[in-house]
């Protein structure tokens, strides 16, 4: 054993220093080569899925005409598809997926648990309940997206009250969240049962989460939310790395875990709410995107940008599938993500309970 030998006994093998971006004395930032490469690959995949979204199917724009059509209004059917149908839908899908990915990454980091994501802790269900209330019980009082936003806010306040102590216990956070979810979906069922069948049908697509018939005003809202909130999430990123090692360790290093957690949850709730208000509660993108990003990037930490890109890719790809499905009827994209994500959630629940972290 060499452990009794002093430090000088064997010089430490020095691994290659990490690459660093330097600008004079003021700037010195580390670069994660793998995350950079993976990020660029995901961007290429998003572009590819976007290309297919615009070109496939009977309304698709011929690939040769796509580039010219993007830069000058082609008019006619192509112009209509690009500026009214698939153009805004794709634009909204990218940003909504990214918002959900970042929201999930923030939630999962502060709770130190993949189950601590907005889907599991009742944000989506709260949004549905709010939408159902506004759309079916008191139609016309508020726009449905506003109802969804209020519902999501009420859900997170209920979870906060239920856990106490400012979200500091991840396990309680998740358990209370599951309870709030259950209450929220029971309430939504009650509202739907009370409403007339026809009315309920109208709302059902929204309650599942859909990107059909989104317009440019939706795109402005969700891209605006991203532009405002993602920089804040990135600023919180380094402190979130320390919270991963436990609140006490983070506090000892000067990262003030309490404030960081509250700020992160506030940003995450706003991103989720923005996503819900444009597309309804699309299930499980927030749960899966950060987990996939983590495995792709194979690096510790929050990976906020990579989670954003992965979320965008998942949603664009899922929406491409439902648009091009051969079932005759276009399913809401939220049903597809719920089926795929539900399987993943089951896997996580089993794994976490085996690990004893729940």
């Amino acid at each position: 054993m060499s452990r009794r030998q002093g430090p000088a006994a064997r010089p430490a093998r020095r691994p290659a220093a990490r690459p660093v971006l330097r600008l004079g004395e003021a700037v010195s930032l580390p670069i994660d080569r793998r995350a950079l490469t993976v990020g660029m690959l995901v961007v290429v995949a998003i572009l590819l899925a976007g290309f297919l979204t615009l070109t496939l199917g009977s309304l698709g724009i011929a690939p040769a005409q796509l580039l010219p059509a993007l830069f000058s209004d082609p008019g006619g059917t192509e112009g209509f598809v690009l500026s009214r149908l698939r153009g805004p839908r794709l634009t909204v899908a990218i940003a909504t997926g990214a918002a959900l990915g970042v929201s999930g990454a923030l939630f999962q980091t502060v709770t130190r648990n993949p189950l601590g994501s907005p889907d599991v802790i009742g944000l989506g269900v709260g949004a549905s309940a709010g939408a159902a209330t506004v759309g079916l019980l008191y139609p016309g009082v508020l726009p449905v997206p506003a109802g969804a936003l209020i519902g999501a806010a009420v859900a997170i306040v209920l979870v906060w009250l239920g856990t106490g102590r400012g979200f500091s216990s991840p396990a309680r956070f998740i358990i209370v969240g599951i309870g709030v979810s259950a209450m929220g979906s029971a309430y939504t069922q009650f509202v739907i049962a009370r409403a007339g069948r026809e009315q309920a049908l109208v709302l059902s697509a929204y309650l599942n989460g859909t990107l059909a018939s989104r317009g440019w005003d939706d795109a402005v809202l969700i891209w605006g939310a991203l532009a405002a909130l993602v920089p804040i999430a990135l600023l919180l990123g380094r402190r979130l790395h320390l919270i991963e090692m436990g609140d006490e360790m983070a506090d000892a290093l000067g990262a003030r875990s309490g404030r960081t957690r509250i700020a992160s949850i506030a940003v995450a709730v706003c991103l989720s709410a923005a996503a819900v208000s444009v597309a309804g509660p699309i299930a499980f993108v927030a749960l899966t995107a950060p987990q996939i990003a983590k495995r792709l990037g194979r690096s510790p930490g929050t990976g906020i940008l990579l989670s954003a890109l992965t979320g965008a890719l998942i949603l664009v790809a899922a929406d491409l599938l439902v648009q091009q499905s051969l079932m005759g009827v276009q399913l809401p994209v939220g049903i597809l993500t719920a089926v795929v994500g539900g399987v993943y959630l089951g896997y996580l629940l089993i794994r976490e309970s085996r690990k004893g972290t729940l």
């Binding site: 060499s2 452990r3 009794r4 030998q5 430090p7 006994a9 064997r10 010089p11 430490a12 093998r13 020095r14 691994p15 220093a17 990490r18 660093v20 003021a26 700037v27 010195s28 930032l29 580390p30 130190r112 600023l235 380094r238 790395h241 320390l242 991963e244 090692m245 436990g246 609140d247 006490e248 360790m249 506090d251 000892a252 290093l253 000067g254 990262a255 003030r256 983590k294 194979r298 690096s299 510790p300 930490g301």
Partner: protein
Amino acid sequence: MSPILAARGLRLAYDSRVVVENLSIDIPDGGFTVIVGPNACGKSTLLKALARTITPSAGEVLLGGSPMLSYRSKQVARRLAMLPQSPISPDAITVRDLIGRGRYPHQSLLRQWTAADETAVDEAMAATAVGELADRLVAELSGGQRQRVWIAMVLAQQTELLLLDEPTTFLDIAHQYDVLELCARLHESGRTLVVVLHDLNQAARYATNLVVMKDGGILAQGSPTDVLTADLVEAVFGLPSLVIPDPETGTPMVVPRRPRVR
């Protein structure tokens, strides 16, 4: 001249349960202070308060003579490092990256990784002899290796004060002494150490200043030879014992007596 780290009239409580009441302590500069005491006597709680990871409900902790709360959190972290009892290793992190996280208090938004950070991490790895593990995943290490890596992480913080909460728990006896010898070397290199330990004989062997706690207060403090007597062990732990010189180091050694059979 007041010591770098001290506490005055501390009351420490979790919610409404008071654990420590009206406690004052001076931590000798450059000393190796070991805090011992029975379970739930408040020794870990005191350490957390000294590291400002819990806030006293009365009294104050003084750093360099000024109240701890008058500093910015990162300023404190450049002078005082604390290793909690069970920190969580993030998934898929390498040894080198974990140790690098100890550099946070020295970094800023635009200067996230400098040559000074690189040097501090190298030095911390050399001091703890974990250089060979640099590219390994923390999750794959043995308990003893992992503890040395965590100590390297707090060393990379480059602080004058080092607080360790039961650093030998969950380690086998060889690795316990491995960690304690490492602490002794750090002490010799000039750092001020405050360590919570369970084992009285280990405490007596390594401490220059022994603090004995019971029921949230300090019962005795001083050099182990002066403090550790059979009467004290009986009073604090309710355990009748002999205290004899450790044949290896001459420091006091506690040998429990068997209950008298009637």
